[in-house]
């Protein structure tokens, strides 16, 4: 590998370059930043956002968008909590995932069959989902779960926190799906040129439904982890998460017009967001400024990518 190919690779994965840059920046400014324990903290904090962003990645690659992820997270969290009170962990987790899948299926179905823009459909289901959550809980949090369930959010295996393990497994799964399966190829094709995909014999409607279901299920997984971590399910969970997820995907090199993007980029996109949060807190930057810093980073990243 000569420096030219390295340079080209760097342009292909700007999120990695950006991440490394930010890590160096914070490491120079604070000695509390560059430690193994701080990295595990960052990763654990990032895991919930990253998992949602993984689902968002395949949606955006296929030319869509899913604004309902935060509401789906909240709705599946409260249903999970309710079932935890009365039934087994297994049933509760299953029900939560089912709710995620159902929300996704509803999104996909309306988008594909109704031929309505994903932005509008998921904006509507975002509102509906939030409302259902509030009605279901009467606005009150549900708390107090068995120790064995809290393991999902707080436990670790060989020193590695469980949320990180779940995140990395889902990362590997999505990497495989996008690169080595029919579903992956079809997602890129639908996002790149839906007409050509259809004329090539792709059952576009069916695959759109599957794609939104993946996003729904991943949101539910995040909801489960969040509930287990906080030992509480709150109807306000997930407010604004859609924006962080979209930001991570776009930082990762995907294009909102579809057909482009990859999961490694999204992982590092999410890491950039998480590292910024962590580093700015360590440096005691006022939270009032933090949003602006994130916004500026997103703009810089997108401007750099425009070149390709």
């Amino acid at each position: 590998m000569n420096w030219r190919t390295i340079l080209r690779k760097m342009r292909e994965y700007p999120a990695i370059v950006g991440f490394v840059g930010i890590v160096i920046f914070f490491a120079l400014l604070s000695d509390r930043f560059f430690t193994l324990s701080n990295f595990l903290i960052i990763l654990r904090q990032v895991s919930i956002q990253a998992i949602i962003a993984f689902g968002m990645t395949i949606v955006i690659i296929s030319g869509g968008i899913d604004l309902s992820v935060g509401s789906t997270l909240a709705l599946s969290a409260v249903i999970l909590a309710d079932f935890l009170k009365s039934g087994s962990i297994f049933t509760a987790v299953f029900m939560a995932l089912l709710v995620g899948a159902a929300m996704g299926a509803a999104n996909g179905l309306i988008i594909a069959k109704g031929k309505i823009q994903p932005f509008i459909v998921t904006l509507a289901t975002m509102a509906i989902g939030r409302s259902l959550t509030l009605v279901y809980t009467q606005g009150m949090p549900i708390t107090g779960f068995p120790q064995s369930f809290r393991f999902i959010g707080r436990g670790d295996v060989a020193g590695i926190p469980v949320p990180i393990i779940i995140m990395l497994s889902l990362f590997a799964l999505m990497w495989f799906v996008l690169n080595n399966t029919k579903l992956g190829l079809y997602s890129y094709a639908i996002g790149g040129n839906e007409i050509a995909a259809k004329l090539s014999g792709v059952k576009v409607d069916r695959y759109k439904i599957i794609i939104y279901m993946i996003s729904g299920v991943f949101s539910a997984v995040s909801g489960i982890i969040l509930t287990a971590r906080l030992n509480s399910a709150q109807p306000t969970f997930g407010y604004g998460y859609e924006l962080d997820a979209i930001a991570a995907v776009v930082l990762g090199g995907a294009s909102l017009t579809g057909g482009k993007g990859h999961i490694l980029g999204t992982l590092f996109g999410a890491l950039i967001m998480g590292t910024l949060n962590n580093g700015l807190n360590i440096l005691n930057v006022s939270p009032f400024y933090q949003q602006a810093v994130k916004g500026i980073i997103i703009l810089i990243a997108v401007l750099l990518e425009r070149e390709n």
Binding site: G184, L185, N193
Partner: protein, 495 residues
């Protein structure tokens, strides 16, 4: 000053290919200069360098005696060089008038009404049958081509570059275009004209320059050369038969459709195919000939009394996916909007329609897909730097070959080929004709839909001619002549 434009020693490389290698080209005032060469020879790259889309790695361009280097197409346009690119770059959601105005009209204050009036006048003067206030998205490919032509003619330029302007329009419209070109010539305007149709070169051009594999082969007067000579300059060898035909029609019927209606356009069309037969469909733009294919293929809503593939009666086809399962395939009319996913590489585009062959339980075997892609690239001599080259960066003709490869990989029972030779070079055309013959002889029904009358006449055993969505008759044997087809296509009966 002898030349209005002169390109000297132009070299341009892309990753993996030398697109142009020390090429010379010059243009006299008031001449039509044709640029010829096989697919991927570098024609489009050369004109993109002249018109400011790309920068050359080496070489100089003189325009009106001065060295120029345009930083953008707009700069070139302002200097008096207008270009109609091979890939149409129109705003789909804007009207025809707005598209023509973008980049051409400086005044922001121009009222919509006035703009439409001006454009309507322009279109009428050009004899183009298009409304200024229709949305571009609703136009078909050839109408879009006409809009691009009108856009380039809007300003008074010194040089007009036309990259395959006739590839997507019918003979009738090509005639109109040639009249326009002759008028421009009389006004002293110079034209660079790219086409894969040699007869057009002899009809319209004064001089011709041939490129091969990015290298300059030669420039000659059209009067001092022949089709044969130009072909061997382009391909490096002789082609003895431009329209090979060796299919053997038999008695057995392998496809039929009765009373087909497609959308609001096509009405009451019936035809059938015999084994070994090549069946043509001809007609002007808007005659509904491509809609016949799209309707049967399940892409546009359609109805029929009866449709049979082999002995099987099919009552309805709801989607292309279902059509493919029934053994009906289609080579779509427009490779960029319908045929290919431009951001994906050649291998993935070929795989897309042939996933079944390489997947198990939803998992794709990329090694196998890679082998298949290589096989198809070889079979159709698609010029690529690797199977991983994005189709976006293939030359136009090589994109077309990729479409043929992906559609014909899985052998169908019937294939509708809509403009299958659009934009491909002479040698490749002969290859496609051979493929068509072989398909027919292997028992596959071929419906050959084309706006190029010579190929329809020379290749097809029977020809259905359409006029404004209605079938005007089916010509057979000696009746198949360009004259008869044109008569029917314009709504005149043949005795």
């Amino acid at each position: 000053m002898e030349y209005i434009l002169e390109a000297k020693g132009i070299t341009k490389t892309f990753p993996g290919v030398v697109a142009l290698d020390n090429v010379n080209f010059n243009l006299k005032k008031g001449e039509v200069h044709a640029l010829l060469g096989e697919n991927g020879a570098g024609k489009s790259t050369l004109i993109k360098i002249i018109s400011g889309v790309y920068k050359a790695d080496k070489g100089t361009i003189l325009y009106m005696g001065k060295t120029v280097s345009f930083n953008s197409p707009t700069e070139a346009m302002k200097a008096g060089i207008a270009t109609i690119h091979q890939e149409l770059n129109l705003f789909e959601d804007l009207t025809v008038a707005e598209n023509i105005a973008v980049g051409n009209v400086e005044s922001f204050l121009l009222s919509k009404r006035k703009l439409i009036n001006i454009t309507d006048k322009l279109l009428k003067n050009l004899n183009f049958n298009i409304h200024a206030n229709s949305t571009v998205r609703n136009l078909n490919t050839s109408e879009k081509q006409l809009v691009s032509i009108a856009k380039a003619l809007f300003l008074n330029s010194n040089v007009i570059i036309m990259d395959e302007p006739t590839a997507t329009i019918t003979e009738h419209e090509a005639k109109i275009l040639f009249n326009i070109i002759n008028d421009l010539k009389k006004k002293g305007i110079s034209i660079i004209f790219i086409s894969h149709r040699l007869e057009e070169v002899f009809e319209i051009a004064d001089r011709v320059t041939v490129l091969r594999d990015g290298k300059f082969v030669g420039t000659t007067d059209v009067g001092h050369t022949s089709e044969q000579e130009l072909i061997s300059m382009m391909v490096g060898r002789k082609i003895s038969e431009m329209y090979p035909k060796y299919n053997v029609p038999k008695k057995k019927e392998i496809f039929s459709v009765h009373d087909l209606n497609v959308g609001r356009i096509v009405k009451n069309v019936s035809f059938s195919l015999k084994e070994g037969e090549i069946f043509g469909i001809a007609g002007l733009v808007g005659s509904g000939k491509s809609e016949i294919a799209l309707g049967i293929y399940g892409y546009i809503p359609s109805k029929w009394k009866q449709l049979k593939v082999g002995d099987k009666v099919i009552s309805k086809i709801k989607s292309p996916d279902q059509a493919l399962q029934e053994g009906i395939a289609m080579v779509p009319e427009d490779r960029k909007t319908m045929g290919l996913v431009l951001e994906l590489d050649v291998m993935k585009n070929i795989t897309l329609q042939n996933v079944k062959e390489v997947e198990k339980g939803g998992i794709i075997n990329w090694k196998k897909a890679d082998d298949i892609a290589r096989e198809e690239i070889g079979k159709y001599s698609i010029k690529v730097s690797s199977v991983k080259q994005k189709v976006k960066t293939l030359s136009g003709g090589n994109q077309q070959k990729a479409v043929l490869a992906k559609v014909l990989r899985r052998v169908p029972k019937v294939v509708f080929m809509v403009e299958p030779t659009r934009g491909i070079d002479v040698g490749a055309k002969v290859d496609v004709y051979k493929i068509v013959n072989n398909l027919a002889n292997n028992g596959i029904g071929v419906v050959f839909i084309s706006s190029e009358l010579p190929e329809i006449v020379r290749l097809c055993d029977r020809v259905l001619v359409m006029h404004r969505g209605r079938p005007m008759g089916i010509l057979e044997g000696n009746e198949i002549t360009q004259e008869n087809i044109l008569k029917l296509a314009t709504g005149v009966d043949v005795e």
